[in-house]
């Protein structure tokens, strides 16, 4: 269980006007849940993820994972980045096995486990290839396999499909939904696509910028259907989906003054 309590992150700005990237955010991520944070650029969703990952210190508040406070990056939180961070000098299999290597897992065992994960993401045939011979979507799948390899308690995904074309993106969403259904991990997923948030999340939190805070949360379970059917069409035309999409869209596009309740 990941607990975020009153988390704030403030960056000093050159004009003396501090930037409140994250303003007293509280959120729980329970095991078996997929929390998707959605919002416009600058709403603090990536800041939130970076703070959980331990890349960024909190100015105020606490984040605990199973009761242990987070102060630095660690192997109990797997991260999938938007930009691919595979090592170009290692082949695909060794990239997936990297975390296991850090943990001192025997070579034969880590290769065996990594091979199984590559099968899970459909890249078993590419194990010996260098990452730069793979397409962007494939590299992102290797990134997911690498984050899953060490069996982290929580998976943090920072707009992992943001750089992919829309067709590849859809395929990746299908893959992720089925993988998530199988592994049953707690997940925080960051996106700026409302459709993606609704398709993949069991909980959707809507964030707004200046200061970055959570303005609404919704429960959804389209991801279960999606994992079973693998067909995005009927899900996205479901009346409830369309209703929620409209609601979230209006929340995101609402003028700042109306949202914060102060009229200029």
């Amino acid at each position: 269980m990941l607990r975020i309590r009153d988390a704030s992150v403030t960056f000093p700005a050159s004009d003396g006007q501090d930037v409140h990237a994250l303003d007293h955010v509280s959120l729980d991520i329970a095991p078996d849940s997929i929390v998707v944070a959605v919002g416009a650029s600058g709403c603090g969703k990536s800041t939130l993820l970076n703070a959980i990952a331990g890349f960024l210190p909190l100015t105020e508040g606490t984040i605990t994972l199973d009761g242990k406070e987070i102060v630095a990056p660690g192997g109990d939180r797997g991260v999938v980045f938007q930009k691919d961070t595979l090592l170009p000098w290692a082949n695909v299999l060794d990239n997936v096995a990297l975390g296991l290597k850090y943990r001192g897992v025997r070579r034969s065992e880590r290769r065996e486990r990594s091979r199984r994960l590559l099968e899970l993401v459909g890249l078993a045939d590419f194990a010996e290839k260098p990452p730069y011979e793979l397409s962007g979507g494939m590299r992102q799948r290797v990134g997911i396999a690498r984050a899953l390899a060490t069996d982290p308690k929580i998976l943090l995904m920072d707009e992992p499909f943001g750089a992919l074309d829309s067709l590849t993106r859809e395929t990746m969403q299908q893959l992720l939904a089925s993988v998530l259904a199988m592994t049953g991990k707690q997940i925080l997923f960051i996106t700026h696509s409302i459709e993606e948030a609704l398709t993949l999340g069991t909980t959707i939190v809507v964030m707004s910028p200046r200061p970055g805070r959570i303005v609404a949360r919704f429960d959804a379970d389209f991801v279960r259907d999606f994992a079973e059917s693998g067909d995005i069409g009927p899900i996205q035309s479901h009346p409830r989906f369309i209703e929620l999409r409209q609601e979230i869209r209006s929340l995101i596009h609402q003028p700042e003054a109306a949202r914060t309740g102060t009229l200029q």
């Binding site: 331990g54 850090y102 060490t150 893959l175 089925s178």
Partner: protein, 282 residues
């Protein structure tokens, strides 16, 4: 394409994610090799014609045939206290020693400077200061301090190879993408693992570039050093020959140096290809 949740192994790359085939084979070296060879042949032909028709006095420009004869003479009987091989080996030995010093001191210090603010603060000023000086300007000082023997020459050369290698290692550490470091940390890397598995290989392309610059700097400093104070080496041989207006021997020396430089460059290119085939790929 549909995907059944209970058999994710059936997931195959879709047609939208084109599998990139091998890079089309059209490397620059094969496509320009012929042109370069023709240029080289033309230059030699021009040289031949210039001496054949007496466009320049043989004292200034010896004919290819003379240079060739002199080449075998210097190789067999020697010139200025040694055969061509002796001089070449003397020069190569100095350059190898200087590169060794540059690598074994420059790489670790450069890496430390990239990692630690204090190390960088302490060492960057003296290195910046001496690196700006022309080596020949402080050579007299080195001779006064260390004598006219090998030590002063190797120290001079080491100073010229050390700085570019050290700077390159430092730049290599600083060029590691922060996302790559964060990824390794969130995979549970320790500080030592972070260094050996991420920072060192990430810095390797920069270090190789520094090595290439160091070889160039070393070669030019080498000949200059041997012109001034030496009893052996290619620079010394050229200087001795010039004193007796033996232009053909000067040519022999120049050709050997050119071949050495070319061999170094090709060797480095080969090494880069072997060690960092991924350079610039990701």
């Amino acid at each position: 394409m549909t995907l059944a949740a209970n058999s994710p192994t059936s997931f195959q790359p879709s047609t939208t994610q084109r599998r990139p085939s091998a890079q089309p084979r059209r490397s620059a070296s094969t496509s320009t090799l012929g042109i370069s060879l023709v240029t080289l042949a033309s230059l030699i032909a021009l040289w031949f014609l210039a001496t054949r028709f007496g466009w320049a006095s043989p004292l200034f420009l010896p004919s290819p045939a003379e240079v060739l004869t002199q080449f075998s003479a210097v190789a067999a009987d020697g010139y200025a206290n040694g055969t061509l091989l002796d001089h070449t080996l003397a020069s190569l030995g100095r350059i190898a020693a200087a590169l060794g010093v540059g690598i074994f001191l420059g790489i670790p210090l450069g890496l430390l400077m990239g990692l630690n603010r204090w190390v960088k603060g302490i060492f960057s000023v003296p290195i910046d200061l001496y690196w700006g000086l022309p080596p020949l300007a402080y050579l007299p000082l080195l001779i006064i301090w260390l004598g006219i023997g090998e030590t002063s020459k190797i120290v001079l050369l080491s100073l010229s190879t050390f700085a570019p290698i050290c700077f390159a290692a430092q730049a290599g550490v600083r060029s590691v993408p922060i996302e790559r470091i964060n990824a390794a940390l969130s995979l549970g890397a320790s500080r030592l693992q972070l260094f050996t598995s991420i920072i060192l290989p990430s810095a390797l392309p920069e270090i190789m570039t520094g090595l290439k610059i160091a070889i160039g700097a070393g070669l030019s400093t080498l000949v200059a050093a041997e012109l001034i104070a030496a009893q052996s080496g290619l620079g010394y041989m050229i200087m001795s020959a010039a004193n007796f207006l033996a232009t053909d021997v000067v040519f022999v020396g120049l050709i050997v140096i050119a071949v050495l430089a070319f061999a170094f460059t090709s060797g480095m290119r080969w090494l880069e290809h072997r060690l960092i085939p991924w350079k610039g790929k990701l």
